[in-house]
């Protein structure tokens, strides 16, 4: 940094820190400190993150960003690296700056070896305009947040642009045609590595991927080299990540359930291998992965008066399909809560892109939320018995739990319905630390 840049950066950080203190005193974390810092020095992120020894990793894609980021951070930390990361959901450069203010001196020097940031498709591109990522980990493209991005083609284009601006290496999902095609646009000299599902269970993939634009010709599929990470599941819980040209990771079991989590851990581990190169230790990675707690709302199990209650966040057809596939083998009393606020996605059409047949044997005890009747109607068309429709979430939760005392229960819910239900549950069962992650203390 030259002197003038240094002065501006220091000034920006000082202003930001002051705003951070002020906003803490008012009792709320917010993006405001990041906003004022960015106003004083728009290139603040480039100055602080641009100088990290192991670079800047962006994790993006429609589904699994939060889980994958957590796993990647855990594996890197287990290898002794100091990692800067952004809190879940702070999908804006401002959120990244706000979280950085706590960890940076006025010099603008961040005490970290590497930054791993989770960003959605649109924001990852905005971020890349300020900080060129050294590495990008691109997971998948699915229908989600359509109100914002409108079309899958457009979303895929955003991720392709991110890859184009990455100057170290990209790690890509070989099983997602949208992501795999991105290999064609990376700059010359930029490394490409793949993660994929072992062919053995590849037949399960169509259900969790977009149906409409697959490889028309299998010859277009990417060739996986010896450093590709291959997910090889043994049963519903145990799996190995195979590296044909190196040592495998596993067999291991995650705290989070489901095939999607296994795929995410394969993605994270493959990126960690690229970053750490010869320093990568399979046993260290395995230990770290086995200790990662499920992020908020992803396969979270709550102690509801002595019985397990699973809260399952559903936000798009691929996610809901995976969730049903994961839980379908163990049917328990279920409730589905669908809201259509902005954060949920205002269009509920996507429910018709999910098959609910796996709920048929046990039925659904209750549908709830603003679109409770639309959900019940959807289930009616799949011949799934619905015992009751109750749009009011509190009323629904109380009667659901009362009717199923002493047995395990499960609630599939959209984002704002989940936030509402969590609040109610934490009061009801006095879950003081509910929603906090002990690892982040």
């Amino acid at each position: 940094m030259d002197l003038l840049t240094q002065v501006r950066t220091s000034a920006a950080i000082a202003v930001g820190k002051a705003a951070r203190t002020a906003s803490r005193l008012r009792g709320g974390g917010s993006a405001l400190p990041g906003l004022v810092t960015e106003k004083v020095d728009p290139r603040i992120l480039a100055h602080t993150l641009g100088e990290l020894a192991h670079g800047v990793v962006v994790v993006s894609g429609t589904n699994g960003k939060t889980t994958t980021t957590k796993m990647l951070v855990a594996v890197l930390r287990a290898h002794g690296l100091s990692v800067f990361t952004n809190p879940t959901g702070s999908n804006f450069t401002r959120g990244v700056i706000s979280s950085m203010l706590g960890e940076v001196g006025l010099s603008g020097r961040l005490k970290a070896d590497v930054a791993v940031v989770e960003l959605d498709e649109a924001h990852s591109l905005k971020f890349a305009q300020v900080v060129k990522p050294t590495h990008s980990l691109l997971l998948n493209v699915a229908r989600d947040q359509l109100d914002r991005f409108a079309e899958i083609d457009h979303t895929a284009q955003l991720l392709a642009s991110l890859a184009e601006q990455t100057h170290g290496s990209v790690v890509l999902n070989a099983d997602d045609a949208f992501i795999a095609r991105i290999a064609d646009v990376v700059q010359p000299g930029v490394g490409i590595e793949w993660f994929a599902v072992d062919p053995e269970i590849a037949d399960q993939l169509p259900a969790i991927q977009e149906d409409d634009v697959r490889f028309s010709d299998p010859a277009d599929a990417p060739t996986l080299g010896p450093a590709a990470g291959l997910l090889h599941p043994h049963d519903a819980k145990s799996f190995t990540i195979r590296y044909p040209g190196g040592s495998n990771v596993g067999p291991l079991e995650l705290r989070q359930r489901g095939l999607a989590a296994m795929i995410n851990s394969t993605a994270a581990t493959t990126m960690a291998r690229v970053l750490l190169d010869e320093r990568f230790v399979p046993a260290t990675a395995q230990m770290a992965l086995e200790r990662v707690n499920p992020p908020f709302g992803r396969g979270e199990v709550i102690d509801a008066g002595g019985c397990p209650l699973e809260l399952v966040l559903v936000k798009n057809p691929a996610g809901f399909t995976v969730a049903l596939g994961t839980y379908g083998n163990e049917p328990v009393a279920s409730m589905v809560a669908i809201n259509d606020n902005y954060a949920d996605g205002r269009d509920v059409s996507w429910l018709y892109d999910v098959s609910f047949e796996s709920l048929r044997s046990r039925g659904v005890a209750l549908t709830s939320g603003v679109r409770a009747y639309d959900m019940a109607l959807r289930l009616q068309y799949d011949d799934v018995q619905v015992d009751r429709v109750e749009p009011d979430l509190d009323e629904a939760l109380d009667s659901f739990l009362a009717a199923h005392q002493g047995e395990p229960t499960r609630i599939f819910c959209t984002y704002t319905a989940m936030m509402h239900l969590r609040r109610r549950l934490s009061t009801k069962f006095d879950l003081a630390r509910f929603g906090e992650d002990p690892e982040n203390e």
Binding site: D212, V213, L351, Y352, D374, P391
Partner: protein, 250 residues
């Protein structure tokens, strides 16, 4: 709505549904329209035969109802050639009174032309006298219409602005939302029994009166009569009415 009782009785006849390009053109749950029609036919005591028509495939021998949905730009490009090949047949069927429901992208393709943002004019099938102008801004959100089938609820998500030709009937009047474009207050278009509309939702499960009106025409064409059963649509009616009340104070 009990299916088992229906299965005990003799079927009232086969009704053939054709879904145009289900892989490329059924974004936002439009596939739900076909599922709903097949289910309702069963509930009414008929035997549905669903033909998924993919690009390059042979046209089925019978078509009593044709359905199409919205798609990605890439999807539209990939069906264009087949649509050209089927153009004369689709125009004939439309003239003959075959009911068709075309949503979003397929609605635009049924029109006279689509004019891209760059000003390029892409000809459509001309079954509906509408012209669509590509736009930078999207029209997105829940919609309520007044139509001859009663109120219709759905969800629009399109960047094309569509204008009706002189004498072209709309599908409905907009009570909430944009419809064809932000100015006219019209939504969709209707000629003979061909309906074009921007409404996802999907539109048919959410509006059973519309669904059964189309099925009536299809069943008469297929079997010579329409002998519906009593269907319990109370859940659909609740879902429908709640959207109407929420968005229009009705």
């Amino acid at each position: 709505m009990s299916e088992s009782t229906n299965q005990d009785q003799a079927s009232k006849g086969e009704v053939h549904l054709v879904h145009l390009y289900p892989r490329q053109m059924s974004i936002y749950g439009d596939l739900g329209n076909t599922r709903a029609m097949a289910a309702r036919l069963r509930w009414h005591g008929y035997t549905p035969v669903v033909h998924d028509h993919h690009p390059g495939a042979q046209w089925p021998e019978q078509a009593h109802l044709v359905l199409g949905g919205g798609g990605q730009d890439s999807g539209q490009v990939r069906v264009q050639e087949d649509l050209d090949a089927q153009a004369d047949r689709l125009r004939e069927l439309a003239n003959d009174g075959v009911p068709m429901l075309m949503i979003c992208g397929m609605y635009q393709l049924m029109g006279k032309a689509f004019i891209t943002v760059e000003g390029k004019r892409l000809p459509g099938l001309g079954i509906l006298d509408v012209t669509t102008q590509g736009n930078a801004t999207r029209m997105i959100g829940p919609v309520v219409l007044e139509t001859e089938f009663g109120t219709v609820v759905g969800y629009e998500n399109h960047s094309g602005s569509t204008v009706l030709g002189e004498g072209q009937a709309a599908f409905g009047k907009v009570l909430h939302g944009n419809g064809n474009n932000p100015e006219d207050g019209d939504e969709g278009a209707r000629t003979n029994n061909v309906i074009g509309s921007y409404l996802h939702g999907p539109i048919l499960p959410a509006n059973p009166a519309l669904a059964d009106s189309l099925l009536e025409i299809a069943a008469i064409r297929a079997t010579g009569s329409w002998l519906p059963n009593e269907i319990d649509d109370s859940i659909a009616t609740q879902a429908h009415q709640r959207q109407v009340t929420r968005l229009t104070d009705r």
